[in-house]
Symmetry: C2
């Protein structure tokens, strides 16, 4: 692809920020990448592995003359960044973010972005359980959805350009209203993470089964929960603090359903169990049919010979 932006500024250089850097380089989407990270170590790594052309202690310096600014920090850190960069943004620039929550971003960052700048919140639905500037890779977004949540009255040309940028990184792009985004992600992402964290915590606190037994026999189901429970704690704390209403709604429904299942176990109601398990299998088939996972057994996880 040809160059879309003269200068892109990435504020935050963790898994997502560094993957965007690699993707921009791989496709030649920008002439210049400036970066900002709070941690000196991250800044040093970003230069060492050539994620960015220059790196700045202050976000305000990184965004100078940038045509595209992407906030890649945890959701709870974005408002302070927006406040800092607001006065330094170039007229006509696009500002976006990558947070897993969109209502809070629109509410808390929006007021700091000047009227002559296009603020379009966004969320690439992609990731791994790894964190940090060395975790990124250009293919992270390939075949994954990126959801843009333009605010009322957003400039359609700017939305089209940002769409094209994400498509350049390999994403499929969808647009959604901020509130609906937060509800969809509460069930597809936030609830599963909270449940995974909770399952791991339950296992860690047993008197009758040791931690080493839990680890030893984890291949039987528990292991998959630990993978998503290995994600960055700061990022996830911010998600739950900033999508409270939707998460509490989904948690309420989850607990209701769980009470039904628990009762079926207690009373030996095999039909209720069998029917629910069969329905769940259908959802899995839909996910494979939609190309969001493969049917390869065990995720094609390697089996080590002894």
């Amino acid at each position: 692809m040809s160059i879309m932006f003269e200068k892109v500024a990435l504020l935050g250089l963790g898994l997502i920020g560094s993957s965007i850097c690699h993707g921009i380089r791989a496709k030649g989407l920008a002439r210049h990448i400036s970066g900002h990270a709070r941690s000196a170590e991250t800044r040093a790594v970003a230069l060492e592995i050539k994620l960015v052309d220059d790196v700045h202690v202050h976000a305000a310096d990184a965004v100078k003359d940038a045509d595209l600014v992407i906030l890649c920090a945890p959701v709870g850190a974005c408002a302070a960044l927006a406040k800092e960069i607001g006065p330094h943004l170039k007229a006509g620039a696009i500002v976006t973010d990558v947070g897993s929550v969109k209502g809070a971003i629109a509410r808390d960052c929006g007021p700091f972005i000047p009227q002559n700048v296009h603020f379009i919140p966004g969320h690439p639905v992609a990731g791994t359980e790894q964190s940090g500037p060395r975790a990124g890779f250009a293919e992270l977004f390939h075949g994954r959805w990126c959801i843009l949540t333009p605010l009322p009255g957003a400039d359609s040309a700017a939305v089209a350009k940002l769409t094209q940028f994400w498509e350049g990184l390999g994403s499929m792009v969808d647009t959604m209203e901020v509130g609906h985004h937060d509800l969809v992600l509460a069930i597809t992402s936030h609830l599963p993470h909270l449940i995974a964290y909770n399952t791991v915590a339950t296992a860690a606190d047993l008197e009758t089964v040791t931690d080493s037994e839990v680890i030893k026999y984890s291949a039987s189901g528990f292991r998959d929960f630990t993978r998503i429970a290995a994600s960055d704690p700061t990022m996830w704390r911010d998600v739950f603090l900033n999508n409270k209403e939707a998460v509490l709604e989904m948690l309420g429904r989850f607990s209701e359903e769980l009470a039904v299942l628990q009762r079926a176990v207690r009373w030996g109601d095999g039909d209720t169990l069998f029917n629910l398990f069969t329905r769940a299998r259908e959802v899995r088939r839909g996910i494979i049919a939609a190309g969001q996972d493969t049917a390869a057994p065990d995720f094609g996880r390697g089996h080590k010979p002894k």
Copy 2:
């Protein structure tokens, strides 16, 4: 390896049974494999793909002269099989099983096995979300644990021989008391499966988010739950019906922990969330260190280019 058994009989030819067949063939552990399956289709497939040397409508015919008999049926079907084969077992033979619950197997099958036969319940902690005679592969057990739960007074030579058999299939073997096995597996396997099924059911019943949205954005966490929720419904129904006490105990603890997390979300208690998420990450590191999973991001799941 050299031949350990003249004749092995496999009662049930699904994922586990067919994988044992492939493993026996690959390592030359038996001279002859007889099979039994209830379904005519499974029996036809088993002959077609040469899982077994002969296949029988009646389990009693399959076990004739067998030195090793392995029950590979759902837990709830094992007692009827044991009753059927009891009078036809060869003196000195070993009978074992592969069920995820051991207390109920010992209680319900034990009485049908004659005194001159060695009954040693067992559980290979390995599997994928696939089912049926075509799902098996020889490497399924490589590097995975197999738990044997010998009953009081078990013959140590027979236990040693069965241990050697599972090691021949590539497993690491551990022994455990039946009740402790059921507690360990309740937390590492049964609870995670129940929670996964429940999460999928919760998502399928929302009015505000469509099924196609859930599927489209499943890569953000939900997907991993659907994989384990795709396992065989009959097998899992039987697990929950037969390990009721331990599962209810773990469910009670899970709900207690979840109430604490829910309260932290409601009251914006970021420290509680952060501390719990950080602890969960440590458990994940233990699992990787123990070789029960790889640290490869996203399970090394392929990213499709657009």
